[in-house]
């Protein structure tokens, strides 16, 4: 089974909750974890991974380059680039901004001097594999700074994870998705069997989780909700109301607990570092609910 954990917004505790859930489920199930936040991966860190066993470079991003020797400075490429990535430098040369180029090759197609603009394949990042000290494997990716196509890295991660699942006869893939609703999240949610949404009771988090829920609905996946930092904003009932209206079952609520930031500094799941904390008691109940309602 493939379970994706998403939140829409960053900083609501998605990765910390995921790390503790993995910890609680690891003994009963054969799991693989996928950190699908290729721009800011940290599930591996939270699970104490310090060294990767295998690292694959992902060559896939394409970037346009302009040969200033043959360029006649007509400016057509700059006019036609859909993302405004071509600029004129101090010497009057037309230059592609490699940190924003999407690699669509429109500039190459419209340039009147053949061969002046070439589309080059460059590294977009790396995908890595490790065994956590808890016994289950993890796949993680890191997009190189300023590169496009983080979604493709995530798709590749999931492919690799599927292959490992087959080889090692694993049962469940737990995908920790990125913030937002863009390509990385779509790649994370697409193909999952169930989505677990994590939100905190604030207007910003509600707005973002509603958006990611629409993406989940698009893929017709059943969704569940975990409310994190449930007590930080007592007057705010809209998150629960929304879940009720949409018929999204609430798996549980985790109170704000200073054990969580402390455990993060220790780079350990909070359930392991502070098993008696309020948050740990809550996550144990949530893990039970997941076993009964989702994994079965």
């Amino acid at each position: 089974m493939q379970i994706v954990i998403a939140s829409g917004k960053g900083g609501v505790g998605k990765s910390t909750v995921t790390a503790s859930l993995l910890y609680l489920l690891k003994d009963e199930y054969r799991l693989i974890a996928v950190d699908a936040d290729a721009e800011a991966p940290n599930l591996g860190l939270l699970l104490g991974v310090t060294e990767w066993e295998e690292e694959r470079e992902h060559i896939g991003a394409k970037i346009a380059r302009i040969n200033t020797e043959t360029c006649i400075r007509c400016g057509i490429c700059q006019m036609r680039c859909p993302y405004e990535c071509i600029y004129v430098d101090d010497e009057g040369n037309y230059v592609v901004n490699e940190l924003t180029c999407e690699g669509c090759n429109v500039c190459g197609l419209v340039c009147p001097v053949p061969g002046t603009i070439t589309l080059e394949q460059v590294r977009s990042g790396v995908i890595r594999r490790a065994i956590t000290k808890y016994g289950f494997p993890i796949i993680s990716a890191q997009l190189d700074v300023g590169r496009p196509e983080s979604g493709k890295l995530v798709t590749e991660e999931k492919e690799w994870a599927k292959q490992i699942m087959k080889e090692q006869n694993l049962e469940h893939m737990i995908v920790d998705s990125a913030a937002g609703i863009g390509c990385q999240v779509i790649a994370s949610v697409g193909g999952a069997d169930v989505a677990i949404l994590i939100a905190e009771p604030t207007p910003a988090s509600l707005s973002d989780v509603q958006r990611v829920y629409k993406v989940v609905q698009h893929f017709h996946e059943p969704a569940y909700l975990i409310i994190n930092k449930a007590d930080i904003n007592p007057g705010f009932t809209k998150l629960r109301e929304w879940a009720e209206q949409e018929g999204i079952p609430i798996l549980g609520e985790i109170p704000y607990d200073s054990a969580i930031p402390k455990s993060m500094s220790m780079l350990r799941p909070f359930i392991e570092a502070f098993p008696e904390s309020k948050a740990s008691q809550a996550i144990r109940e949530i893990a039970e609910a997941i076993k009964q309602e989702i994994i079965k």
Binding site: G8, K9, G10, G11, V12, S15, E39, A40, N42, L45, L46, K62, R80, P82, Y83, E84, N97, L99, T100, C101, E102, G103, C104, N105, V106, L109, V110, L119, L143, V145, G146, R147, P148, S150, G151, A178, A179, G180, I181, G182, C183, V185, I186, T202, P203, A204, S207, D208, R211, V212, K214, V215, H218, I232, N233, F236, P261, M264, S265, L267
Partner: protein, 287 residues
């Protein structure tokens, strides 16, 4: 003038810094705050305002006129997104969600009129007056759309027609090319970070981006008492970036965040820290 506020990872308090600094600096500049976190725009919620002046962002999408198409497959071959599939006989079909609207297919199609102008709604931009003397510009990607780049570009285009002296850009999390697109054109980049091992890891990436883009970079440490700030200072130094402020974890900040009231408009002692950051930026911009 333009400055960018970014953070590497999500949830570091980037938007809190952005809105508070905007409220302060709006006293001195004709100011626009641009929320370019198009996948999860929240600045309006933190400012307690409703988005206004909605404009659609539509993207080109090829529409095939099969009576003219000669099934040469050129459009499919040139499409970097593999959004066009062809049948055995060469008939092209579009998979709309993969299309980025770049028009490469239209450019290569040898038959005039075989590819016609279609379009798809991919999101919206908004221009919202705030009660704090500045305007908020927001880009919002439609759910189910994959690419945030066109929305960032559209929001930046809408900005160009507005009148301002200072633009503050609030970016998405991460360090991919849409974040660099948002930052592009800034004289100053402020990275908001947390002193946790995870925060430090992500800060390093945003510092790298600042360096690659050749932009002066400052660091603001949020929730400074949750970890070892020395680590952050050390990393910042490595990239020639200055740490300009430390913000402690505070219930008051959480309270104002949740209620949609910028903390600089209150009497809480923490307001002074944000005013201090705004003052530093003001001095920097004045030269």
């Amino acid at each position: 003038m333009q400055i960018a506020i970014s953070g590497g990872k999500g949830g570091t308090g980037k938007s809190t810094v952005a809105i508070n600094v905007a409220v302060e600096l709006a006293k001195r500049f004709k100011l626009i705050l641009a929320d370019l976190d198009v996948e999860a725009p929240n600045d309006h919620l933190l400012l307690g305002v409703e988005l206004q002046n909605e404009e659609e962002v539509n993207q080109f999408m090829p529409k095939f006129d099969y009576s003219k198409c000669i099934k040469c497959r050129k459009c499919a071959e040139v499409c970097e997104e593999h959004a066009i599939i062809t049948l055995k006989d060469g008939t092209p079909f579009l998979m709309p969600t993969l299309c980025s609207g770049c028009r490469a297919c239209e450019i290569v199609c040898p038959v005039p009129g075989a590819i016609q102008e279609g379009s798809r709604l991919i999101g919206h931009t908004y221009v919202t007056p705030t009660p704090y003397g500045f305007t908020l510009v927001t880009g919002k990607l439609r759910e189910g759309e994959e690419r945030s780049m066109p929305l960032v570009v559209a929001a930046k285009k809408r900005l160009k027609n507005l009148d301002y002296e200072l633009l503050i850009v609030d970016t998405a999390a991460g360090t991919g090319n849409t974040v660099s697109k948002a930052i592009e054109g800034s004289q100053l980049l402020i990275a908001v970070t947390e002193p946790t091992p995870l925060g430090i890891h992500d800060t390093e990436l945003i510092l790298q981006l600042g360096k690659l883009m050749g932009i002066e970079t400052w660091v603001v440490i949020n929730r400074a008492d949750l970890g070892d700030v020395n680590e952050v200072y050390e990393r910042a130094e490595r990239y020639n970036a200055k740490v300009i402020a430390e913000i402690p974890y505070s219930e008051n900040i959480v309270k104002t965040y949740v209620s949609g009231t910028p903390i600089v408009t209150t009497d809480y002692p923490e307001a002074e820290i944000f005013r201090g950051i705004a003052e530093r930026i003001y001095e920097f911009l004045r030269g």
